[in-house]
Symmetry: C2
Subunit: 628 residues, 2 copies
């Protein structure tokens, strides 16, 4: 099975369509203005001179690239001449760039050309090139235009001439992975195996001894032992990737690497790489995954700490890392049709990813903590409790834009004999199978309701299989075919209905969607005695604006009834969860920090909103894990 | 009322006597060896030359000074020729030091004499001198010897010639307070008001604008705005001390300053200073005090964060800060006879202070967290979960030695007409009152039992008042005079018995001492839904060695019976608290990080030990605040 290309799937309504609309109408143009305002786009004039302000940074190209990619996806279903012109302008700048040998990086071209390729460990040359390759492929697929693709093909040739195992080549690989998965996209788009080979080289060279990063550091006159992050597990280069079995270091880097590993495992039928992916996945999901799909517990390495250590207030859970997790999960799902991958993909999407952008599409989170306390000491100021306009290192805003614009890619896949649905959302798709063209539409209020109506319209009556994901959060499901109950056999989170399908066939799926109380493993000390509320794939949280301050003092008794209610006035309509909790009366505490008298408990009403909506109504406390 | 001098009080048995014994027999000699081994004592040969190892550090003198002070206190009741010789040797070294103008600091004398007094903000010249003054006074009072006192008197003259409001003098004050309270001790010991004036100058000059630290930084060619700690609240010099009403910055510095302020308020009847002390005290105890008497929530400034922010695992709660709090509380108690000061003094002593040294007296904590999790990420490595032999900056070990050796000072005070008891411990004291000499002895197992037998032996029958502290933790007390019940009238934590006392009069005091469950204020999010166990003044904790791992998963139901039992096999005999709790069965959780199925709860037995005893049985989890 392959994912369906964007042109064949369109989201037509519901939450995801709304997030796509805001992304298209607001976020993309805001981000373009930021690229202009912050001199990133100007850097593609390649006319910066020493002493001038706005010295191009080595990661700037990647921000433009991700924005081009996002805009390209958006143009597939929603032509927008102004947006298209912006992309064309950007590419036109790059085409005029001085790159006789194909090399692309605005910083190294004008700031320190003599230092090109001297610090793969810390600088992001290959990373930026990778993002531009992804942009080139997306632009090509959206518009048929190959201007950017040609630039990046030349650049890829240049990279291939510099790196590899051949004589005179550098045995290097990127400190920040990205180009590996981009090269697979180049391969898939062009069919040229050179790209695949180069991706495989980068993946397999990684972490071999003697370490390239050591040698490179010594050449720069630096002591490799003084590496700021201690060892190369920070960038997953401490040992060959095939020997790795744990997530380590910087979370986003890892996600991009593992995504490429899964791609290569699929494309080259490399069982060993697939096994490594599965081992690392297990470590991630057994020990390091926030209930929101966020990953990377600490800002110190923008990555992992120790197993079961899941601090909430200081959770880094970078937006890019949740996005990267969706990328990886989607690729694992292609390797193994197993609902556990789709569950994590969906968990990340509806929580840790969507929280990265404000309701109005104008502001962004870098870190996505699971608890907020406005009086956090200023030493923890890397945690923003309000979304920001932009960042110095602004990887997250264009990353979320490209994910939202490409959401349809994650919904369906198909082979000659089956069509699979991985995500539910009102949508229309069309796919060419062996001897039949199938159109399929979904009508649903998912993720707010568990009812999905599927209409299947093959252009002829034919026998094939429809594979339906039954989400892991769902404990009871009912399905009807043309009004008649049918029993689903669920294997690894998917149920397959094989039959002769006729035009107009209809399936209704009822996924039972009560409020669930999630517990964390007893070793997660930060969540001990606490529960998270989840309904469908959506994790909820308490906010101060609805519940008053001192959210940690609220207790939700185990037997408290929880009621879901649609609140039309909130964020243009969203379900909220109501319940009866209890809390202490802090007025009785004046002037006392400790007391040995059991304090009076009073009942209170609690209201929880979807986590991804937090911090859209001003600064205040927020809490995902509620005391039980 | 004045505290009784050390020579008039002796602790004769029980926990404090045992801690004093270990301090005397083990800690003092271990610390002396460390002073030798780490070249601190060698620095007093003043023969270090550039290029040689072991360059004297500017705070080294203070470590020797505190050790001399500790040894001196110990010699009062326990003559020890070897210990006395060690002190004499140290002082002999200092006497031979090149100090034509009286200046004392081993670092600045040999390493950078040209930079003397150029960086009061960051270097610790006045701090070191202050500690040497305290040592000089203690040594003088213990032995009558004035060798060190003469050196420090000369040094004080030098300091007075350099600092002050007079023409040509520097308007400076120390970055790390300490000399202020030391000067008050010099005044009390010698009667010379010059010392008191200098102390008052330092206290009152502090924090005035334009900031001396700014001017001094500019003279060094530094930009004061680049001060590492942001502003001078770090060292309580952001505004004049009389205007301060909050604890700020580095906790130990603050404690030493506030102690001096209380001293000056008393000695000079300065109401304004006393009011400032009371305001700051209220802020500390309302918002920043750990239940262990530890203070200073974070290592980042070795001090305070924000009100009600009391992280447990990363609590800094430096041993020196708890000691400093005992100093300050003791002085506040002299200003106002109010049990709230004695309660905090006792809380700090039996918990956050005693935890600073191992049972065997050989190892030390710098930070005293209230929860320990051995898998803490290495980024938090400043928190040691096992006591250490010594530290690069080793302020805590000799500080705890001097506090333990001087414990009797904190027990009693007296005026011409009353004797007050602030701490209960088996002890003997003698005091000269107006026209009567009173000997008083306590027999008690305090803090393990609440029964205290006091025998009063005046040398003649006379009417005077005995002031008994009724600890704040005690909810019910019974007193008998010569076997007859008497009703106590308790005012601000003290009950006064005025009568004609005859030789052999006996008072028995029964302080009810059940296990208390302490709650923290609803705004303390880290302790929400949790209780601390306290019995008498002693706070308890759970350790992994007694309770298995995942301590945070243990819940102690509100109605759980708690039983106290003496465990003779543990630490040579200590009470432990037993109770029935419950926890989840983590074996059911294999391979799962989250679950929406309510997990099976199983009953478990919990055992809590006194907090100060934690980490004496190997590395493991520890927890003060238990889920309820």
């Amino acid at each position: 099975m392959k994912p369906l290309p964007l042109s064949q799937v369109r989201i037509t309504g519901g939450l995801l369509a709304e997030r796509q609309r805001v992304n298209r109408e607001v976020t993309l143009s805001i981000e373009y203005r930021q690229l202009e305002k912050t001199s990133r786009l100007g850097a593609w004039r390649f006319d910066w001179k020493p002493g001038q302000p706005n010295q191009p940074h080595f990661f700037w190209d990647s921000d433009i690239a991700k924005w081009i990619e996002a805009a390209s996806y958006s143009l597939v279903h929603d032509p927008d001449p102004a947006l298209q012109r912006q992309v064309e302008n950007a590419i036109a700048l790059l085409e005029k760039a001085p790159r006789p040998d194909g090399y692309v990086n605005s910083h190294y071209t004008v700031v320190e050309p003599e230092n090109r390729w001297t610090n793969l460990r810390d600088k992001h040359e290959l990373y930026g090139i990778g993002h531009l390759m992804e942009a080139a492929v997306a632009w090509h697929e959206a518009t048929g235009r190959d201007d950017l693709l040609r630039i990046m093909a030349e650049c890829a040739d240049h990279v291939r001439s510099v790196f590899g195992r051949g004589k005179g080549k550098k045995r290097g690989y990127p400190g920040h992975e990205e180009i590996e998965l981009a090269l697979v996209k180049m391969y898939r788009s062009t069919g040229s195996a050179d790209y695949l080979d180069l991706a495989r080289y980068f993946v397999d060279e990684r972490g071999r001894k003697p370490y390239y990063f050591d040698q490179e550091a010594r050449k720069r006159g630096e002591d490799p032992a003084k590496y700021r992050f201690g060892d190369y597990s920070y960038c997953q280069a401490h040992k060959p990737v095939r020997e790795q079995d744990q997530v380590t270091g910087h979370a986003v880097r890892g996600m991009y690497l593992y995504s490429a590993m899964a791609d290569l495992a699929l494309e080259t039928k490399d069982r060993e790489l697939a096994l490594a992916c599965r081992r690392i996945w297990k470590d991630l999901t057994d020990h390091h995954l926030y209930v929101t799909g966020g990953i990377g517990q600490t800002c110190r390495n923008e990555g992992y700490t120790t197993p079961y250590d899941l601090p909430n207030e200081t959770a880094y859970a970078e937006t890019c890392a949740a996005i990267g997790l969706a990328f990886w999960a989607h690729r694992m799902l292609r390797l193994d049709l197993d609902g556990k991958y789709a569950d994590v993909m969906e968990r990340a999407l509806y929580n840790g990813v969507l929280s990265g952008v404000s309701q109005d599409g104008r502001r962004f989170f870098y870190a996505n903590p699971l608890a907020a306390w406005p009086d956090l000491p200023p030493t923890e100021s890397y945690i923003h409790l309000q979304r920001q306009d932009w960042f110095g290192c602004s990887c997250c805003p264009p990353n979320i834009a490209r994910l939202l614009a490409s959401l349809p890619l994650y919904m369906y896949s198909a082979s000659d004999r089956v069509v699979a649905i991985h995500l539910y959302a009102s949508s229309e798709m069309e796919v060419e199978m062996k001897g039949v063209t199938v159109r399929l539409s979904q009508k649903t209020d998912y993720p707010w309701k568990g009812d999905v109506r599927l209409r299947i319209d093959p252009d002829q009556v034919k026998h094939w299989g429809l594979v339906l994901r039954i989400p892991g959060w769902c404990r009871r499901v009912e399905a009807k075919i043309n009004g008649e109950r049918t029993k689903l056999v669920i294997r690894k989170g998917y149920a397959t209905i094989r039959r002769k399908w006729s035009p107009g066939d209809e399936i209704t799926l009822s996924l039972d969607m009560p409020v669930e109380r999630i517990e964390a493993h007893p070793k997660v000390r930060q969540d001990a005695g606490r529960i998270a509320l989840q309904r469908g794939p959506v994790v909820y949280c308490l906010e101060e604006v609805d519940n008053g301050s001192d959210l940690n003092d609220i207790r939700l008794p185990r037997d408290a009834q929880l009621r879901v209610q649609w609140d039309q006035g909130l964020f243009g309509g969203t379900p909220v969860i109501w319940g009866k909790g209890e809390r202490r009366d802090s007025r009785k505490w004046d002037g006392q920090l400790y007391s040995s008298k059991p304090s009076r408990i009073r009942p209170c009403r609690i209201q929880a909103i979807p986590y991804y909506l937090w911090a859209n109504r001003g600064l205040g406390e927020m809490l995902v894990w509620i005391r039980e």
